[in-house]
Symmetry: C2
Subunit: 565 residues, 2 copies
Amino acid sequence: MTTTTNGNGNGNGNGNGGTGGGKKLTVLTKDPVADIIAITPFPASEKVYVAGPDGVQVPVRRITLTGGEPAFDVYDTSGPQGVDPHLGLPKLRAPWIAARKDSANQSQMHFARRGIITPEMRFVAIRENVTPEFVRDEIAVGRAILPANIHHPETEPMIIGKNFLVKINANIGNSAVSSTIGEEVDKLRWSVKWGADTVMDLSTGDNIHETREWIVRNSPVPIGTVPIYQCLEKVNGDPEKLTIELFLETLIEQAEQGVDYFTIHAGVRMQYIPLTAKRVTGIVSRGGSIMAKWCLAHHKENFLYTEFERICEVMKKYDVAFSLGDGLRPGSTADANDGAQLGELETLGELTKIAWKHDIQVMIEGPGHVAMNKIRENMDLQARICQDAPFYTLGPLVTDIAPGYDHITSAIGAAMIGWFGTAMLCYVTPKEHLGLPDRDDVKAGVIAYKIAAHAADLAKGHPGAHLRDDALSKARFEFRWQDQFHLSLDPDTALQFHDETLPAAAAKGAHFCSMCGPKFCSMKITGEVREMVAAQELEAGLAAKAAEFRESGGKLYAGSDDHHH
Amino acid sequence: MTTTTNGNGNGNGNGNGGTGGGKKLTVLTKDPVADIIAITPFPASEKVYVAGPDGVQVPVRRITLTGGEPAFDVYDTSGPQGVDPHLGLPKLRAPWIAARKDSANQSQMHFARRGIITPEMRFVAIRENVTPEFVRDEIAVGRAILPANIHHPETEPMIIGKNFLVKINANIGNSAVSSTIGEEVDKLRWSVKWGADTVMDLSTGDNIHETREWIVRNSPVPIGTVPIYQCLEKVNGDPEKLTIELFLETLIEQAEQGVDYFTIHAGVRMQYIPLTAKRVTGIVSRGGSIMAKWCLAHHKENFLYTEFERICEVMKKYDVAFSLGDGLRPGSTADANDGAQLGELETLGELTKIAWKHDIQVMIEGPGHVAMNKIRENMDLQARICQDAPFYTLGPLVTDIAPGYDHITSAIGAAMIGWFGTAMLCYVTPKEHLGLPDRDDVKAGVIAYKIAAHAADLAKGHPGAHLRDDALSKARFEFRWQDQFHLSLDPDTALQFHDETLPAAAAKGAHFCSMCGPKFCSMKITGEVREMVAAQELEAGLAAKAAEFRESGGKLYAGSDDHHH
C-alpha cells in the first residue's frame, strides 16, 4: 500500500471553493448553512490516504509525534474537508455503484453471498486491517453489515460487526420545538470530526425532507432514520391513520435520498403490548408507542410485521439495511429484561431470517436502561436469537438517577455490552431525558462513546487496539506533553486543562506536572529507579562474570571459539 | 425510630453564628477561609435526623415530592450546616469516645471482637438499614471498617465493606504549585455536599499541617492522608533521608490531629522493584516511588514493611485504619495485572493478617489503569489474598486515551469493580494526569463516582438501592419534572439543561418534553395504551362474565351467598 496526503490536514472549515460532488442543493428562503461554524483541524495531524490494490483510497489521520517516535495513524471518520455544503461531498462510490447497476438486488450481502468482493469491502478491509475475503464472509453470513445505499455515494465505507472495531452512532435532528437545518448540518460535521461512525437523523418537526437532504449530501458516514416519524408527520400526528402504503411510499422517498439504514419497529406485535401496561415506564420508544397505538386502535397485528416482505422489496433495491427497532425496550432499570422486551426480541430473530432470505443486511437494536448485572443476558440472548446479526444498543444506562449525566451512566453500560459483543453503540448525550442536544452535548456524547467503544476493543483484545493506549502512556511517562495531548481523543480539552494549572508554554516540556510540582514527581523518580536497577544489574552482571572467571580458573575463553555471546 | 428536622434544610451557607465544637482555629496572616463560597442547599430538601435507640441521631436528606408521592429519604454525607469554619463542626462523638477512654486499643475492630456494639456501630446500622449486630460482626471479621480516629469526634460514622453501600472518596489537597487552605476547605465542603463518603487530603506543598487542621475540624466524613508526603517535606524532598523514626513521629502528629486512615506503602518490597523497570509507565504511585528509591539507595528492605508492627502500635492507640497502599499499581493498561502489582498484593495480604492480629482496621488499595477484561481478576485475587478486607480502588481507568475525560474512563471501571465487590471507589476528576482539580472538577468527579457506586449497588441487588431509580423513573413517566430533578444526583444541572430547551416555568408541568414536542410524545401515547388495555381488559372481563353467566344457565349468584367478589 502507498499513501498520499492532502496538504491541509483534517478539518479545514467551510470553504466555498470545495470539490463538491453534484448540483447545488436548493436554498430555502434563507440559506440554512450561511452561518455554519467552521470545523477546526486536529493539531499535529494530517489526513493521509492509504491506497488499496483496487484504487480505493482510505483516509486515516496521521499524528506527528516528537522524541523520535514514528507518526501514529488513527481511524478517521471526518470525511473530505473544505467542501462547500451547498455542493455536498464528492461522490466517491459513484463509479463502483454504476458498475453493478444491473443487479436487481443491490445489497452488499447479496454480492458477498455470490462470492463477490466489492470495492466497498476492499475499502473496509484496509480500514480494519483485515483481508477483503474476511470482510466478504462476515457480511455473507450476516455477522456484519456494510450500510451503503446506492443513492448515498458520498459515504466512505464502514462495517458494523462483532469481529470489527466497535462503532458508535450519534443522533441528531430537529424537533417540533427547536433547531434549524444549519444547526443540524453543523452537528453532523461536528459528530464525524470527533469520531461518529454513523449518524441518525431523528428529525420530527417541519422540513424533515429538506433537513435530510442537506445531511445526506454532506455526510461521509452512513445515515440512519426512523421513517415512521415522517409518516406520522404526513398524517398530522395521528398514529391511527398510518397505513402500509404510506409507509412504503415514505421508505422509497427516503431511500431515493440515500438513507443507509432504517429503524423499523416490526417486532411490536399485538401479543406483547399488554405486557407493558404494568411497567414503571411503559413504552418509551417513540416508534414502539406509535405502532402500539395503531395496533390497539385497529385491533390488528402491526402492519410492519404482517407486510415485512413488501418492505424487504424496497430495502434490497437500494441496499438499505434494516435496523430492527426495539420498540418495547425498557425505559427504566425497573423494566429491564422483562417479557415485553424479550418477546419482541424473539420476533426480531424471526424477522432477521426473513430479511436474510432476501439477502438484506440486518442489525438489531437493543436497550436502553439495564442494570449491570442484566447486561450480559441481553447480549447473549440477542446473539442466540438473532444468530449473531450485529447488535446495536442505546447505552444501556446502568442507573436512572443521574439526568444531566446520562452520557456517563450509559457509557458504563455501553463499554460493557461492547466488550460482550455489541457491534455499534448509540450515543447518549448529557441532555438525554431533559432537552435537545446542542453542539457541546453532541461532542460530549461522541467522546464518551469513543471511550466506551475503545475500552470494549481493548477488552476484546482487538488486534492493535492497545497501540494507541501504549503510545499515549509512553508519551505521558516521558513527559512529552504535546504528544500526550495529540494522541488523546480530545487534544483541545487536554491542552486547555493543562493550561489551567500550568499555562506557561515551557511547562509543556517540563519533566514534572502540576499534581506533584517540580521538586518531587513519581515518574521522575521512576526514571531514576530504572537507572539504578540498570546499574545494579550491570554491577551484578560484572560480579557474576568475575566469579565465573575465577571458577573457570582464569581461562579467558573457556575453550570456546564463539566470541559472540 | 423517630425523626426530627432542623428547619433550614441541607446546606445553608457560611454563617458566622454556627454551633461549632471547640476553640477557634488559629488564623494565619490572612484568614484562609475569609472568602469561602457558601454551600447552597438542595432544592425541595430538608435535613432530618433519624433517632436510634441509644440516642444516636442519623442525618438523612428528605426530598419532598408532588403528586401525592411520599417524601423520599437519601443517605446524607453533608454534615451539619451553617457552622463557622473557624469553630469547626460539633464534636458529635466526644461523649462516646470519652466513655471508652480506658481501653489501650481504641479501634472499632477491637471492641467488635469483644462483642461490644459501639454507638458508632449503632449509627451506621441506621444509616445502612441493617442490625447493629451485623455491623459489629462485619467489623470483627475484618470484612468492613468504620474509620473513626478518637481525635476526630466531628465525624458522622460511616462504614466501608462489601456488604454495605458502595462508598466513594474524593481527593483534595494543595501542591507545591497551587491552591490555598481556603480553596481546600471549600473543596471539602463541596465534596461532601455532592456525596463524598470520605475525603483524602493529599497536600504536598507548604502549610501541610495547617491545611489538615482546617480540613479535619470541618469534616463530617473520615479523612485519609498519605503520611509519607509530609515526611518527604520534612527531609526537603530527599527520599533517601527518610527513617522509621521520622515516619512514626509524623504518624503521631497526624493521628493527634484526627486523621482517620493512613495510606501506607508497606508492600513495596525490594524484590518487586526490578519487576517495574520494563513497564511502559514504571512506578506511578508517589508513595511507591519514594519507597522504591529509598530501598535502592540503601540496598535495604522497605522500613514500612520491616517495622510494620511499630506502626501498628500507633494505629491502634488512635483507631487509625490502615489503607495499605498499592505503590506498584499499574500506571497504564499495558502494565495491568503484572508481576510487580500482584507481588505487592501478596505482601498486602500478609500485612493484613499482622494488622488484624493487633485488632487494627484495614482496607487495601487497588489500581489504577486496567482494561475491562482484567478487572474481575483484580477483585478476585484481592478478596482471596486479603481475606475479604475491604478493597479500595482508584477507578480503574479502562483506557488511557482520554485525558480530560478520565472521570468517565475510570467510572466505567469503578462501576464494574464495585459490582464485583470493591467497597470504596476513589474518584478521578477530569483533570487527572493534566492538572489540579478545581471546584468544578471535584463536583464532576464526585457525581461520576456516585453514579458508579450506585450502579454497583443496583447490580449487586443491594436491598433498597433500586427505590430511588424507581421513584425517579415514575416521576419521569408521569411528567413530574420537578420531582425528577429533585430525585436526581444533581438537581441544579438537570433543571438547567431542561431550561436550555424549554425555559418556561409552565414547561415544568408540561405533559411533553423537548425531544418530541407537544404534538407527539411516546410517554403520552403509552398512557393512552394503558387506558386502552385497561378498557379492553374490562371489556374482555365483561364478555367472559357474560359467557359464564350464559353457561351457568343465567343464574345470577351460582349458588353462592358471598356477594363480596
